[in-house]
């Protein structure tokens, strides 16, 4: 079987791969289409034929061609589907947490049409044979297109560079040691220099281990009260400052993962102002929760970087608004139940996030009027563009990467289980507004919410 490659868009050679699926023939009738890039905003009929957007017209004016299914939108919202440059699919080696099938199913359920998987697996994705095997597996199992970012250093050891040119030739989406920083500035500088040969954005988990130490949560009032060792904000921001300076000197491109601290936003704003080629992301949990939410020591709320203070959260929201922060990425990090059912300090870092990303941000930031819906849609759809990959759009001739959302629907996170294999979701038990009803990825239906009747049979 040859890998199914719906998106060859973007820089030469990067591969987004999914299992073969039937191209959709679908009329989305009477939907509120909203795409901040194309300016579409209002009630439309959207016709998808052979997996491509064939027609966008006034509501009620398009009739379904023979063999096409009709979905009654009833004014519900249709966005370009979301993309996530930062997820952990735990394959190979940790399939008890997640695999390519369950992880991409979770992505589809969250309205995502493409995700990029991190290499901190077992073994680490640091050689061409491992990357090749993953791409082959994705071509059999992935429900939505997946790209892979191999490691910057072998075994994530922070010492030896991987064979980046060979990995790029095979389709690497960029490089990252995510989960760990490249602590040694000299090693990191060589990776930046090597980018001139092979390209590929370097995505960076920023943390100075000599400052974060054995910390398990944000250093602040709550950590002082709980007696839990803290991870100070400056362990992140000082590394970002260092890496921006190095990237500037080497004229390289870097992407900063999961910003959490006010100081980090300031460092990036300053770097962008002087022309450094740096982009960055923030996660839904850092945008909506703080260390106050960790008082009960719920291990589902233990992640790295940690949930920080309200001041930090507000800085992230401002950063999204003023453009300092380029995209929202989930850092979807599944862990098995028994791994998380331990005392807080022993628990592994990470929360799942793909299935709750839009709803959590919509409920906590859009509904209270802190962020505009258009801005949130834009930030949820721009993450792969930063890697010269797919930017989903609602326009005629584009592949159908679409998500239909009921903004009024309420649901309780976890109440009817998860598509992910793991259930360590920091929003578990919360009532959220906004439910994904239908996701089209690379022209095919990737997810349908089961309890909603939308369709008129063809």
């Amino acid at each position: 079987m040859t890998p199914h490659e719906p998106q060859s868009a973007g820089a030469a050679g990067i591969r987004l791969v999914s299992a073969p699926a039937r191209p959709a023939d679908l009329l989305l009738r009477d939907v509120h289409a909203l795409d901040p890039r194309t300016g579409v905003d209002g009630l439309h009929d959207v016709l998808v034929r052979g997996g491509e957007i064939a027609e966008i017209a006034a509501p009620g004016t398009v009739s379904a061609p023979a063999g096409a299914e009709t979905v009654e939108g009833q004014g519900r919202h249709l966005f370009p589907a979301f993309v996530d440059p930062h997820v952990h699919l735990r394959t190979p080696g940790q399939e008890h947490k997640e695999d390519l099938e369950t992880g991409t199913r979770a992505a589809a359920a969250g309205g995502y049409c493409a995700v990029i998987a991190m290499p901190n697996t077992s073994p680490v994705v640091d050689s061409a044979p491992i990357l090749g095997a993953l791409l082959d597996a994705a071509a059999r199992e992935a429900r939505v297109p997946v790209g892979f970012m191999p490691a910057i250093t072998r075994g994530l050891d922070g010492i030896e560079l991987t064979e980046m040119a060979e990995l790029r030739a095979l389709g690497a989406a960029g490089f990252t040691d995510d989960g760990r920083p490249v602590a040694d500035a000299g090693v990191f500088r060589r990776a930046l220099q090597y980018q001139r040969l092979c390209g590929g954005v370097l995505a960076l988990h920023e943390e100075d281990p000599s400052l974060s130490g054995k910390g398990a949560m944000h250093e602040g009032v709550v950590s002082a009260l709980l007696g839990v060792a803290g991870i100070p904000s400056i362990s992140e921001s000082t590394m970002i400052a260092r890496d921006c300076a190095l990237a500037e000197y080497e004229q390289a491109r870097i992407h900063i993962q999961h910003l959490s601290a006010r100081e980090s936003v300031e460092v990036i704003a300053a770097a962008k102002a002087r022309g450094v080629a740096v982009t960055c992301e923030a996660s839904p949990h850092h945008l909506t929760m703080t260390d106050e939410d960790v008082r009960g020591l719920d291990t589902r709320r233990k992640m790295n970087p940690p949930l920080r203070s309200e001041e930090d959260r507000q800085a992230l929201i401002r950063g999204l608004r003023d453009g300092t922060i380029d995209c929202i990425a989930t850092d979807h990090a599944p862990h098995a139940r028994d791994e998380k059912e331990v005392p807080f300090e022993q628990a592994p870092m990470g929360t799942t996030g793909l299935e709750t990303a839009f709803s959590s941000v919509y409920t906590d930031l859009v509904l209270p009027g802190m962020l505009a819906l258009e801005l949130v849609v834009q930030k949820l759809t721009s993450g792969l563009g930063l890697l010269d990959l797919l930017v989903p759009m609602i326009a005629v001739g584009e592949p159908a990467n679409l998500v239909l959302v009921d903004l009024d629907a309420e649901w309780v996170v976890g109440e009817s289980g998860y598509e992910s294999r793991s259930e360590n979701c920091c929003f578990a038990g919360r009532t959220l507004r906004g439910r994904v009803l239908l996701t089209l990825a690379a022209g095919a239906v990737a997810y349908r919410e089961r309890s909603t009747i939308l369709s008129v049979p063809a």
Binding site: D338, E341, V342
Partner: protein, 315 residues
């Protein structure tokens, strides 16, 4: 009260009720036969994941003086060393239907977590660097005996506050009982944000004279490997409570075991100001009162704490 997990959960009334009962148990310890039948037929399990001689034997003595049956379960030499998880250990031990589990672990929040897995009453005997509530209660008991009331008293807690569960529980308990609390120690060992607990922070002992009570913390030798202070010699020079620094009317406390010549000079350990052995004595009667409180009644005022998981447990 169902569990004793944290001083944060206790009101001043709760503390006074427990300590008033402890006072009535004082009399039992002076009898020839130091035993009352209050908890006869009840089983108390001591589950200790950290080395402890004082706290464990104090709990054991307290349970036995109330006629409860006591089982000691130490982490070494048990299934824990074979890799069993805390949850599996607790579920296994719960199968024996203990009425109370006294638990010490190196992890914050572990006692509260265990409370969500078992029907037994849980008494936190130390969870990481978070809390050690019975130590705080016995310290308040000792001060009530020595001073009558803590209201308006000025208490200095001196030493390694960052790594001390005793400090955290005591700041909360002393504040709840109406005292003013100052913490003092090397800046590297005072956690950022500790003022939020309602205490003042100092980095030197210049104003130690204003204290009614001086509470010295144990300086743990393992902190030296992590270079939090340049040397024990320099620590002692800056922070040791000695005859020159301790006033004649100040009360000196220490949770034990004492490093003579480090946080305390030998002379003050043996001085009339020191109430260190009184603290040890209070330990037994206060733990009797706590066991009685969670197993034989008392008002239910403990707040619900969120723990993971919230769903009912599979056995």
């Amino acid at each position: 009260m169902r569990h004793l997990l944290s001083i944060e959960d206790l009101t001043r009334d709760d503390i006074e009720r427990i300590l008033d009962r402890a006072a009535t148990f004082e009399e039992v310890s002076h009898r020839d036969i130091k035993k009352v039948p209050a908890l006869r037929g009840r089983t108390v399990l001591n589950l200790f994941y950290e080395a402890s001689t004082r706290t464990r034997s104090s709990f054991e003595l307290a349970a036995k003086r109330l006629s409860a049956d006591v089982v000691n379960f130490a982490a070494s030499g048990s299934s824990v060393e074979k890799g069993e998880s805390l949850k599996d250990t607790v579920l296994t031990l719960t199968a024996h239907s203990p009425d109370a589990i006294v638990i010490r672990t190196p992890y914050a929040g572990a006692a509260a977590l265990v409370a969500s897995w078992t029907t037994a009453a849980i008494i936190n005997a130390g969870d990481g660097k978070h809390e050690h509530p019975t130590q705080a209660l016995l310290d308040v008991h000792t001060l009530r005996q020595k001073l009558g009331s803590l209201e308006g008293r000025n208490i200095w807690i001196v030493g390694d506050v960052a790594h001390s569960r005793v400090a955290r529980s005591n700041i909360l308990a002393f504040r709840t009982m109406g005292a003013q609390v100052t913490v003092c120690g090397p800046p590297t060992l005072i956690p950022r944000g500790i003022e939020a607990l309602g205490c003042e922070v100092r980095y030197d002992l210049h104003d130690l004279r204003e204290a009614d009570v001086v509470y010295a913390l144990r300086m743990q030798h393992e902190r030296m490997d992590q270079h939090f202070v340049p040397s024990l010699r320099e620590y002692a020079a800056q922070y040791q409570i000695n005859g020159r620094r301790l006033g004649p009317r100040q009360v000196l406390m220490h949770p034990g075991p004492v490093n003579r010549g480090v946080e305390l000079s030998g002379e003050v350990v043996d001085s009339p100001q020191a109430v260190i052995t009184m603290q040890v004595k209070s330990g037994v009667v206060v733990r009797m009162a706590v066991l009685y409180e969670v197993l034989a009644g008392g008002a239910s005022t403990v707040r619900q704490r969120p723990t993971y998981p919230t769903e009912p447990q599979l056995a």
